[in-house]
Amino acid sequence: MTDAALDPIDRITRIPGDFPAPRAWWICFGVSLALLLLFLVSVGVLLVFGVGVWGNNIPVNWGLAIVNYVWFLGIGHAGTLISALLLLTGTTRRNALNRFAEAMTLFSVICAGLFPVLHLGRPWLFYWMAPYPNTMTVWPQFKSPLAWDFFAVLIYLIGSILFWYLGAIPDFAAMRDRSRSRFAQVAFGLAALGWRGEARHWARWRQAYRLVAALAVPLVFGVTASYALLFAAGPVPGWASGIFPAYFFCGAIFSGFAVVAIIAVTLRHALGLGALVTRSHLNLIGQLLLATGFMTGYGYAADAFTALWSGDAREIATLHDRWTGAYAWSYWGAVALNFLPLQLLWFRRVRVSPVPLALIGLSVTIGMWLERYMLLVTGLYRDWLVSSWGIYHASFWEWALFAGMIGVFLAPFLLFVRFLPVMSVFELREARHEKREAGHG
């Protein structure tokens, strides 16, 4: 059965050679290249003129860079978790979702990692964060979450690449055997490392893949803990809270599932993958979004409750600042965008409808950005001392860098969609085979 029209799974390996929506792809890629150019200009301006071109200053010295860092990193976590947890629980619906979700992770972690480096003031010295023998005989401060965070993001980035690549090796081999152009054969052949599908190779591959998946789950917890502790380990009112690691974890996967929903619906429509990303898959994404949304909502409630329960005047004042202060729009905006449209997902009809699901995903994506903004700015703009109060407004170049970073995410993601199999072909085939076996038995 080699007719592409008859086998939706086989279509996946044919998409790179015969792309179904070239015009739409070029328009999207053009836009993302323009954003990428904006990124380069913004970074150039930052490097030439220094962080003074940004709006962050004492007391709000973290600004949009760290807001976006947390936001992008959080989005990345969902890709790892959707892939690893659904693999370990043996959910076959995973196979249509994991590859592009992992690609989303890769590119959003790259975006996330760039923000704190650019925020350093002297980004070209970022390697001082790494422990290495140097003439100054200075070593990193390993009792600080800042040093933990460097390790967390770096290891998460490399770990995500390993996980994605390990899962893709057999598909690279299939692409090698499918491709007709010499260049594609050589490129995929090198990427496949000479994979030839021997039974014992598969057996060892499966052992390794399940192990890496099982290790990726605690890795995500470690990474969320490390950047949650960036906030929580200090004495800042509104930040110094034991719930932060769990709170950040839930928010991270919530925002990530929202982006998975947007990407799944878009790819399904653009590449005609309705037979593979079925209503059952959309239903699963909708359910995950709803569940993680309520976990995040619990985080909001617990955060407010612990502030009120603490009896600490500064904690309560920060809570009031969040609700009624200068940045109340970010708090109530986050609550509204995160939790109001979400309630529609109680209805199965909404969960399996692509457009409403994607719109709810978009709402949550924006809502979670507002949450990151709210958490960061309201914690800092009114500190312990009235003399150090101040208002923060992001400058043009901060917004330009943010917009440009969307290009840093989109451009490689579009290349992935265009040139690599967007789903795990061999796992879809394996699942279909096992389903048939079960039907026979």
Binding site: A152, L162, A208, H433
Partner: protein
């Protein structure tokens, strides 16, 4: 003489042939576009080296990660709030992260090394029908020395693979 490559269009028929080869105590390899449950065991696969290597990698990473943090703190003690240089609680997270990382590396590297990959040249690639892109091509590869007196294997096609 050369190795024998047998092609099947159906996983069940390949599994049946593999079982017959197993009963006849032959050495052979199976090549499939996706993993088939139980096939590796029929080819005589019974090992757990990859998980053991990953465990070794994790332990190595934990020791190096923790030891590295202790060493840097002794080399350059930073006194913040009177905390001792070796504050193991503070080192836990980075130790765990590095252990996870090295375990992942050892799992991936161990899988590749045990599979003797990367290996871009292999005789089966010379067969014109060899392809992992087709969902209906399954192969058995029987080495030269095992070809005498084979049981009935009923392939769709048989080919020679010169070494």
């Amino acid at each position: 003489m050369a190795d024998l490559l047998l092609e099947y269009d159906d996983p069940d028929r390949l599994m049946a042939a593999a079982r017959r080869l197993r009963e006849a105590e032959r050495r052979f390899e199976a090549i499939t576009p996706y993993p088939l449950e139980g096939l590796a065991e029929l080819t005589g696969f019974a090992e757990a080296h990859v998980p053991k290597l990953a465990l070794a990698g994790g332990v190595l990473g934990a020791v190096l990660g923790f030891g590295g943090q202790v060493a840097t703190n002794l080399l350059y003690p930073i006194d913040v709030g009177g905390r001792p240089p070796v504050a193991w609680q503070g080192f836990a997270l980075v130790t765990a992260l590095i252990a996870i990382f090295t375990a992942m590396l050892f799992a991936l590297g161990g899988m590749l090394a045990l599979n003797r990959l990367p290996k871009l040249r292999h005789p089966v690639f010379d067969d014109p029908r060899m392809s992992l892109a087709e969902p209906d091509r399954f192969f058995l590869l029987i080495p030269e020395g095992e070809r005498e007196g084979l049981p009935e294997l009923d392939p769709r096609r048989a080919a020679e693979v010169p070494r």
